[in-house]
Symmetry: C2
Subunit: 208 residues, 2 copies
């Protein structure tokens, strides 16, 4: 019986540690594939095109929108972010659990289009800790940090739409926990239709 991949959407406040968690999931377990988003924002120091993101122009991004080449897209802080469709669909068919990092608007759009997608929201242990991490990163101006905190406050409104809340207190624990949430998702009836149908057929045969 072929196991189908799960489309996993990871969201969370900027500074909650999503990126590190996702990298570790892919590194520690062999069932994951990481989707690479497309964005019109500028690369941060150390970021490479085709690794963290595909960095493209507004024109190139809008062409993808027109051609239905994106699973979802949204704009955030005056930039586009989107998920190229082809790679995601290929990996799901191969049985890989595909992880997308998307902010909340995009996540809810994905859930509408793919009701069996698994939505996880990563939180820091407290808002105080979130602020500390944003300041500690040292790559952003105070204005950007304030904007992010305000944005976090807005995003917090949608948390109930997610399937799972993950508190990123200890990285090692959190990676294992996220993995167990994905493993749990593989046990829902809607993801085991073939198993259930086969059991029914066999049992009916016995009862005759």
């Amino acid at each position: 019986m072929k196991r189908k991949g799960i489309l996993i959407v990871v969201s969370g406040f900027s500074g909650a540690g999503k990126g590190t968690l996702m990298k570790r999931l892919v590194q520690d377990f062999d069932n994951y594939a990481l989707s690479i988003s497309m964005t019109t924002r500028n690369p941060r120091p150390g970021e490479t095109d085709g690794k963290e993101y595909f960095f493209v122009s507004r024109e190139a991004f809008e062409k993808q929108i027109e051609e239905n080449g994106l699973v979802e897209y949204a704009s955030y802080c005056d930039n586009y972010y989107g998920t190229p469709r082809e790679y995601v669909e290929q990996q799901l068919e191969l049985g890989k659990d595909v992880i997308l990092e998307i902010e909340i608007q995009g996540a809810l759009k994905v859930k509408k289009k793919f009701p069996s997608a698994l939505l996880m929201f990563v939180m820091p242990p407290s808002a105080q800790e979130l602020k500390r991490r944003l300041v500690g990163r040292g790559t952003e101006t105070e204005e950007v940090i304030e904007k992010r905190l305000k944005r976090a406050s807005e995003e917090a409104e949608g948390i109930e739409e997610y399937d799972y809340i993950v508190v990123n207190d200890d990285l090692e624990e959190c990676v294992k926990y996220m993995h167990s949430l994905v493993m749990a998702a593989h046990a829902t009836p809607d993801r085991n239709e073939e198993l259930i149908q086969n059991m029914r057929k066999e049992l009916e045969a016995f009862s005759k």
Copy 2:
């Protein structure tokens, strides 16, 4: 922040290994409490009143029904089975995850009364294996085995109502997996309202 207990309902075909799995969960992890059901059926060899079940008369059982002393009850193979309410509520308040073993009719009634209950359905790897286990137990007549297989076929109709399907192929793996399903359930937003509300309040305070 106090963690609330989850009401866990375990169902599955007779012979799927529910009883052993539940005993192991309670034995291996400290977050579980096992609910003891009340029944009017006769004890099997080796069963003790107050351990596997509270074995009572029809009259005593019907008195409990009248006094609303049961979370749920149902009849199966001409006997009553039910869950005494008081112990379950006490344990949930103490933060314990309370495991009930109930057949499918009762499980669905519990889900209606307690929408946040977690329903797990335990299956053997195949119907053939189920039959083998029922015959292997050696305590039942062929007539009873046939009745159980027929019943299993009927129960299989309701599997989609469960939150999770657990295939009991390897006992050790299955115990760990069931535990991870319960841990996953603790991460849903409806079970983390306090955490979410606190985060919102803190973030709003920052944004002012």
